[in-house]
Amino acid sequence: MKHRISIIFIISLISFPNYAADSDAVSLGNALNSVGQAKVDNITSGGGSSFELTAGEKDKRVSLKWGVSSPQSVFTAVFSVPADSDGNTDLANLDGLAKYNKVTLNYKRTLFAKPTVPLMDLMKSCQNIQKKLNLKTDEGCALNDLIAKYDDNPEVLEQLLELNSKAWGNKPTIFWGGTATYGSKKMNFLDENTFEKNDETKYGWSISGYIGLFKTLDSAWALELKREESYKNADSEIKCPPNSTSDYVSCLSGAIGTPMKENKNIISLHYRKSFESFSISPSINFDNKSNEFGVDIPVFLFSSSDKQFVGGVNLGWTSLDDDLTFGVFVGKAFSFF
C-alpha cells in the first residue's frame, strides 16, 4: 500500500451577512454546524455563507458557499473551482467531479414527528396533572419544567414522560435533502494517431438524494444515493514518435486519446458526531459501477472562540489505488452578524 501524506488547509476566510439571519439562529443549519463549519462539500454541512480554500496533494480547491435558512430547512449553493491545473486525475475520493469547475445546489429539510394525539388532549391531560399538584393551569404547560420538578415522584413522572412521548411522536427527528451538481473541465490529451497536444472541455453532472436522522442533537446519520456522469483521462503514456530528420528522439507524455465518459452510482453513509472536545464527520462511499470503495474521516480537533469546530486532521482512502491520505485542516471562526 502506498502511503502519501497530504496537508490540507481549509481556511474559512470571510463570511457574508446571512440572508435570513434571525431565523438561522434557530435552524437545522445550526444543528449541523455544531459538528464543524468547514468541509462545505459534505452533504451534512450546515447553513450560512463562507469562502473556503482547500489545499492539498490531491485536493486543491477554492469554494464559495452561499446559504439561506429557515427554521427547518437549509439551501446552499457552493461554487467551486480547482486550484491546481496540472491535469492530475489522481483523486482523493470517489467523486468524479472533484477536479471540475462546478456549482452544487443542496437543499435539506428536517421533519419533526407529529404528536400522536390532538394538542387539546395533551393540554387537558397536562392541566389535570397540574390540578392534582395544586399548580396554576393558566400559565401554559411547560412539560419539561414539570419533569425536572417532579423527577422524585415516580407516579407523576411516569404520566409526564408519557405525555412528552405523545407530544414528540416518540420518533427520532428525520431530515432529508437532495443535491444537484453541474461542472466543466478542460481536459488535455494527446491525439492517439498524430500525438499532437489537444484539449476538449467536458461537462459532468450529478444528482443525489439523502435521508438522515438525528439520534440525539449532537449525532446524525445520513444515507445518500448519487448518480454521477463525468469524464476521466485515458491512461498516461510516454510516446516517442519516429524522427527521420534528427538523431535525437523527442518524446511526449500524457493521456493518449480523448477523455472517457464515466458513470457512477455512489452509495454513501455519512455520520456526524460531536463530543466534548472534538467531533468527527466520517463517510463511507461505494460505487456499484466499478465496485470501488472510499472512506473519508475528518476529525475536528480545534474550535474557535465561539466553540465552533474549524480545524483538525483528515484521513482518506480509496480502493481505486489503495492509497491512504492523511491531512490536516485549519479554519478561521466567523460570525453571521
Binding site: 434557530v26 430547512s73 395533551l122 393540554m123 401554559g140 404547560c141 419539561n144 419533569i147 425536572a148 414528540w168
Partner: protein, 96 residues
Amino acid sequence: MTTKLIKFEFKSSDIDQFSLIIQKSNDDDFHEEMVSNPQNFSLESNVEYVYMLRVKGNSSNKCELVISGASKARTPVKRKINAGQNSDTYLDLLIA
C-alpha cells in the same frame, strides 16, 4: 367568520431546532406548522387555539417566542432547556 393574522416570531434564540404547531381547540383537523420565522397565520377571530412549541438543543439554551395580533395570548414566551435535558415542550392556549 372573520379572520385575522397572528404573527409568531422567535426574537432571540440559541436553540438549534424547533417545531411550532397550531391546532383549533375544538377541531384538530385544523393543523398549521411554522415553516419560516417570523410567520403569520390566518386564524378565526375570537376562537381558541392551542399551540405546541418543541425545541431541541443543549442544556441552558434559551429562546423567546413573541405572539402578536391575538386577542389573548401569553407573550413573550421565554423558554430554557433544563439542565441535563436536550429538549423542551411547551403547550398553551390563545384566542385569536
